[in-house]
Symmetry: C2
Subunit: 526 residues, 2 copies
């Protein structure tokens, strides 16, 4: 029997708050620090590991977190989720994104179909289309091959797929699976679509229109923009456009599209990278095999997330350490710092994933909670960030917990030796140095050059950023966010906070405004 | 006579803390809200305005802020800065970035030259080179024109110039001043340089190497990477590369470069977009006239920053409201939300500008301060952010102050009418709607759909994002950050917090490690 309780009603949470704090600078120095690096690591499979040696934890804190995991029934709640319970209490929906990459438990039938079979069917349809586009069976009207794919979507239909594309683009180029260049149109700012259209050859471009409801204003507006451009080029838009939508949307059976692939209400936008939303553009860009490897990597993490043993469940451990930092230690932000240029937009994806899921003030029953929930997430790739905002991370007045990601090998295989080391070695040396600098600091009589240390971080280490490790990384964070939502007793799967702005924007466009809204509208000449 | 005192020693700060708090949802509703929108606005010149109606201020708070500005002598300190005092106390340097765009006060002689004359001389040299590249006087060895410019730099040599380039790229394309495409290599991750080199035609590319000291490891490494590529293509690297550096650096008089342009120690990287660091790449990309307009826009804001009257000094007002939010109201972050796709990387630039300048824990004399200083800065363009992290901004457990930017007109002039409005109108309607939604909220019996409001924001409104308004925007935030540093009594112009990581990374590369540092190095195969 599962109980859903607010965090401040949980005994283990009260106990956790009483466990002695860890002096990070102290425990990370000398041989004790070395021991921690060896000991505080959990395998993510396939050569990847989540290392939390530089977090403010010790065996006592971890024991308390294990009790917290048990009392809040995190794994049982995950089980309920993948077995098809209505976990999204706000919208009264199942939550099935894990099923796009594997069957973790019972068969789940909804809308009269087996959902795993449904998702596989969509993947097969996408693979079939992608293969036909790549081998020239599907071409433009002139019989020429499509060379570019442009995704039109916003939010979850943009950030995840875009971050995944950028993460694999260069890997694909050197591994002979770069099939088509992808570009993305998202913003309702007309300059976004105009700029992309300016840069591409529309005659050889396939557009992927992504909107679950088929009613997203930004996306429909940009579709219209693109259709105008196709028409002006004398092209038949319906031969250049596919749709990814739900079966009940107006786009589903329209003749305006070459093909339509389906998602459903059980996958939120921010969790949709492994569904048809990511599947169409990634399969077209890199081939269906690459997308399949990506799903495989994600599926392996989902399996790990079933482990009840906290120290063998990296996503749950990451989640609970995050809750400890947020609710007990009082840290408000988390910085995501991948040491890999390929992950340049991964922090932007995690920003949506985390902040849209857990930026809530009411519990899953709609009652206000008396504790803080989701943190602010931000980040940029290293070493770039070191030359930007790390100053504040090292010497600012607030402590910001850090999430590093690093890979032993680069993607493209080109490198250069300068001053006795390769660029890849310099990159790795920097992430290692940062972890220790943040944790241990360094005393200096000149206070301006003094580092207090005590700034916690973890690192996920992998062999190389490739489809499988990217899938693992994505699923790790999806599951972390899910577990944190369970701990905070909130619904991580709706987003009512985006509604009010939409309503007011409609009112502005209809000129049905007064007060401040009218004055602001006048200032912007609307 | 200027006094430098810690904020908690300032009488006006104690008074400010006692002024009654403003109930934002209340004051922004009805006709009172409309009045505030009209009244709480300050001109930034040239049709731009900073509107702070939706900030948690009223006449009492503003009066207290005006006293704070006077007692902390903010304008006098700015005066001292532009008249050549040693404001960067840590490195014992002048701070002269304003002088790249105008002479605000006395002539400043340093290193035996008049600095204004020196910066103008560099601009002229750059303009001359750019014109010769554009008209074909300077070509590659085969006599063919250069079509692409690639900036090699990191931190301030990358983020600012890159953000400015992206902000003007599409404007330039429709205004017939798009001369050369620009790309940027920054990260020591070898995949960064490899990817850019993969995408360009090196035979027609001019590289701009930017390093003040001439010793930045990432930049020298990437230079070597690029030189290898040029050599492998049978090209003479010295005919494809210019340098932007200080006169005393090893790059200054090297035969390895076609030309060298100079900056100096009085301009920090994050304040260098208006120096040769931004000047070279922007003049090559868009022509020297566009760069000159950009400087003109910045210079106009610098003039406004001299106003002692708080309500006529937008940067100082923005700065003080930020201090009020940070130190009295206790808000830890600020989100920067430009409703313009061209400003896609502007928040990343501001992140460095603000966090590297004011992420400090000691005052300008090296003594610890007992209050919080610089906030975390993050942001993405709207409307994209609305579909991402706005959920937390609206309904999360922490209040995050917001900085909107919006323009009445788009850059490219293409637009489409859907459901009775253009995309531009939809874009503007959304930013207006968000301000009111954040400020006023909306009560709902379903707590999940309830919005408390009371979430403060300001907006900078302009006619269009173009070189002049971009310059104004840049200078506004540079001056805001400077004023906040003065209020907090910190040195905003050094960055000692980046040093420890560099030292430890060198130790890792030399294999001179023990303890945790050695273990982490082993994990990453260094």
């Amino acid at each position: 029997m599962i109980s859903w309780n607010n965090l401040d009603q949980v005994n283990a949470y009260q106990e956790l708050s009483k466990v002695a704090r860890v002096n990070l600078a102290e425990v990370m120095s000398g041989s004790n620090g070395a021991e921690r690096v060896k000991k505080y690591s959990v395998s993510m499979g396939d050569g990847m590991a989540y290392n939390y040696a530089a977090k403010q934890v010790d065996d006592d804190v971890l024991a308390a977190l294990e009790k917290l995991a048990a009392e809040t029934q995190l794994v049982e709640k995950f089980e309920a989720l993948y077995n098809g319970e209505v976990i999204n209490t706000g919208e009264k929906r199942l939550v099935l994104h894990h099923m796009t990459r594997g069957q973790l438990g019972d068969a789940v039938v909804a809308d009269d179909v087996d959902k795993r079979a449904f998702y596989i069917e969509q993947q097969k349809k996408i693979a079939d289309l992608a293969n036909k586009v790549h081998n020239g069976e599907i071409t433009n009207a002139a019989g020429e091959r499509f060379t570019t794919v442009v995704q039109i979507g916003i939010g979850g239909s943009d950030l995840g797929p875009r971050a995944m594309y950028l993460a694999l683009e260069n890997w694909a180029k050197v591994n002979n699976c770069f099939k088509m260049e992808a570009k993305f149109i998202s913003n309702v700012d007309p300059d976004d679509a105009a700029a992309v259209l300016h840069d591409i050859d529309v005659a050889h471009t396939l557009f992927v229109l992504v909107s679950k409801s088929g009613t997203t204003l930004e996306t429909l507006t940009n579709e219209s923009f693109v259709k105008d451009a196709l028409k002006n080029a004398g092209l038949d838009a319906s031969k250049h456009m596919i749709a990814v939508t739900s079966e009940t949307s107006p786009l589903a059976k329209s003749d305006d599209y070459l093909a339509a692939f389906f998602m459903d209400d059980y996958i939120g936008g921010r969790f949709s990278s492994t569904s048809a939303v990511g599947g169409a553009v990634l399969s077209l860009a890199f081939g269906p095999e690459v997308f399949a490897q990506f799903l495989e990597g994600a599926a392996a993490e989902d399996q790990l997330a079933k482990n009840k043993a906290l120290l063998e469940n990296p996503a749950m451990l990451d989640a609970l350490i995050g809750v400890y930092e947020r609710n007990i230690l009082g840290y408000q932000n988390t910085a995501v710092l991948p040491y890999s240029q390929g992950l340049s937009r991964f922090p932007a994806h995690l920003q949506q994933l985390d902040m849209e899921s857990n930026g809530k003030s009411v519990n899953r029953f709609g009652e206000p909670v008396d504790y803080v929930t989701g943190p602010v997430i931000f980040g940029e790739p290293g070493t770039n960030g070191q030359h930007s905002f790390y100053q504040l991370l090292h010497q600012g007045t607030d402590v910001i917990p850090l999430q590093f990601v690093g890979f032993k090998n680069n993607q493209m295989g080109s490198d250069v030796v300068i001053q006795g080391s390769t660029s890849q070695q310099k990159l790795c040396a920097n992430v290692v140095a940062q972890i220790v600098a943040f944790a241990c600091g360094k005393a200096d009589e000149n206070r301006n050059k003094n580092f207090n240390g005590g700034r916690p971080s973890s690192i996920i280490i992998g062999e190389q950023l490739n489809p499988k490790s990217l899938g693992a990384l994505l699923a790790h964070f999806e599951n972390k966010v899910m577990f944190q939502g369970f701990v905070w007793n909130i619904n991580s799967f709706d987003q009512e906070g985006v509604q009010l702005g939409k309503v007011l924007a409609q009112r502005v466009l209809a000129h049905e405004t007064d007060g401040a809204l009218k004055e602001y509208s006048d200032l912007l000449n609307i």
